[in-house]
Amino acid sequence: MTFVTHRRSAVAVPTGPRRRSRLTGPTWSSLPYVAPALAFFAIFVIYPICVSVQTSFYNYDGLTVATFAGFSNYVNVFADSNLRAALGHSLLLLVFYAALPVCIGLLLAGAMSRIRIYGLTVFRALLFLPQILSSVVVAVAWRGMLASDGPVNWLLRHIGLGAFATSWLGNFNTALPSIGLIGTWVEYGLCMVLFLAGIVTIDRSLYEAARLDGAGPVREFFAITLPALRPQVSIALILTITFALRNFDLIWNTTRGGPGTSTTVPSLYVYLDAFQNRQLGQASALAVVLTIIILIVVAIVQVAVREPSAHPRRTRSLRRIQRDGSAR
């Protein structure tokens, strides 16, 4: 969650802790402080990852002797049509889990930056509610919402769209987008709350200056709100994308990959291959690929949504607005 911390530390390291630590003296004695945390992390995270990587190069059913498989498990991840389809489903879910919530969040945050909001704390608390619920509770709630006699179909029938009513999670064509929309529902509140927190820190005089400059709501959004929200957009993307690519809980408790294989995702196959099909090597390879994909995507987001200083043009236009504003 505190993912961006390293950026701060990269800036602060030369002055802060170095100076401090020289005063506090030699350092091997600091190891006992770090040791318990590192021990837990090493035993229950690093060691299992190493075992996963090792297992991924073997054919292993968990009982008989494992045979070396080279890269064949990895080749399968991309060659096996089921696994490829699962990766494809994950990509589609990225739109629903990450792109849509961030866009909805930005749109609403943009609107909210222009006015004084009454009851902000209450709005914020309610919008954040889906985040705190267990994914199993979310799944049960949405199974009810999307059931053939559930509220969604009731609404469709009452506004004359009864022809579209269906068993949303049981229909081959609608199951995956339906799960996607559940993800949108879980995530958009988080995005809005993050962006709202960012907006509060924007200097109000920037908006006044922009308005005196005759900037409309759209220009105001792109010139002030969006650039100022970079850190929040970055963290929102990292959180939502990671959630989208993992996504075991929600699918297990709604469709279990069905109907057919229409809602399968990689993490579901990790579980099935490891604990039901007894293909431990295949499951491990898939888990390793999933991890690498997540790390790559997070790295891309980090680079793509940099601090404004990396984009001098934007900052200059910001500064110009500010200067013009104060000149008047």
Binding site: L38, S52, F123, L126, S134, V137, A147, I235, F248, V270
Partner: protein, 267 residues
């Protein structure tokens, strides 16, 4: 600076709609859970059926026990490690931070299978330890970064003063820093509690068949899975039972949780 009343009303309307969508699904299961199985009217009947059939009493206790243990131990070891990484020159400190950073976004999927094998080797599968130990390990990155960020924000003068008073490093932590670390530790604990309480995949794999140790989300998953064909109102009641403790905690702690999550995330 005046913005038209119409825009203000429009934006608030948008907000109300957004909130309505956020709250409606939860509201709808609460309403279903209160329906009577036969005939109109509302009642608590579904709750007692779900409570008795789904073993939720023991599930809620298990969840509380696991979450409390994970939070307590993680908080302690994170304080120690965060303190050292913020104020001392730890050998390999950069490397440690880099590895923990990767740990922040790691999918649990890559650890579960070896964890299962390792813990069954130790004979811990289907015990509380199978949930507590791995979740401490998985919570350590967040905890350490959190506490390190806090200890770095403490003014140098406080450390200096403690040193001049002749305090050892452990005394400095205990007597000078912990008394002011309360809010940071409380927010961290709230976030960890929420994550641990809601964790599902680890529970599914590491507590496969011991009802006495099942956590609340796992119990709900089994209950709603087997009961799917029977009564949806009872399933809804079960979901509400699992959600209520966390919602109560949320009502009490939401301000701390939200500001903590939003500022901590960007920090």
């Amino acid at each position: 600076m005046k913005i038209s009343v119409r825009e203000s009303v429009g934006t608030h309307t948008l907000l109300v709609i957004a909130v309505f969508f956020a709250v409606y699904p939860l509201g709808s299961i609460i309403i279903s859970s209160l329906q009577k199985a036969s005939g109109p009217g509302i009642g608590w009947g579904n709750f007692s059926i779900a409570w008795n059939r789904g073993h939720f009493a023991s599930a809620l206790i298990s969840s509380a026990l696991v979450a409390a243990s994970v939070v307590l131990i993680t908080a302690i070891i994170s304080c120690l490690a965060g303190y050292a990484l913020a104020t001392m020159r730890v050998p390999g400190g950069r490397l440690i931070l880099g590895v923990l950073l990767v740990g922040l976004v790691l999918p649990y999927e890559v650890t579960v299978l070896p964890l299962y094998q390792m813990l069954s080797g130790w004979g811990l599968i289907n015990t509380y330890w199978a949930l507590i130990l791995p979740q401490i390990g998985l919570s350590v990155p967040l905890g350490v970064f959190w506490m390190r960020a806090f200890f770095r924000s403490v003014p140098e003068e406080i450390l200096e003063a403690a040193r001049l008073d002749g305090a050892s490093r452990l005394q400095t932590l205990r007597l000078a820093l912990l008394p002011i670390a309360g809010p940071a530790i409380a927010t961290l604990s709230t976030i960890l509690f929420l994550f641990t309480w809601n964790e599902f995949l680890l529970a599914l794999i590491l507590i496969p068949d011991n009802q006495a140790v099942q956590t609340a989300p796992l119990a709900l998953s089994f209950f709603s899975g087997t009961d799917r064909s029977s009564n949806p109102y009872v399933t809804a009641a079960a979901a509400v039972l699992v959600a209520v403790p966390i919602i109560i905690a949320y009502v009490v702690l939401q301000r701390r949780l939200i500001t903590g999550l939003t500022s901590g995330a960007v920090k």
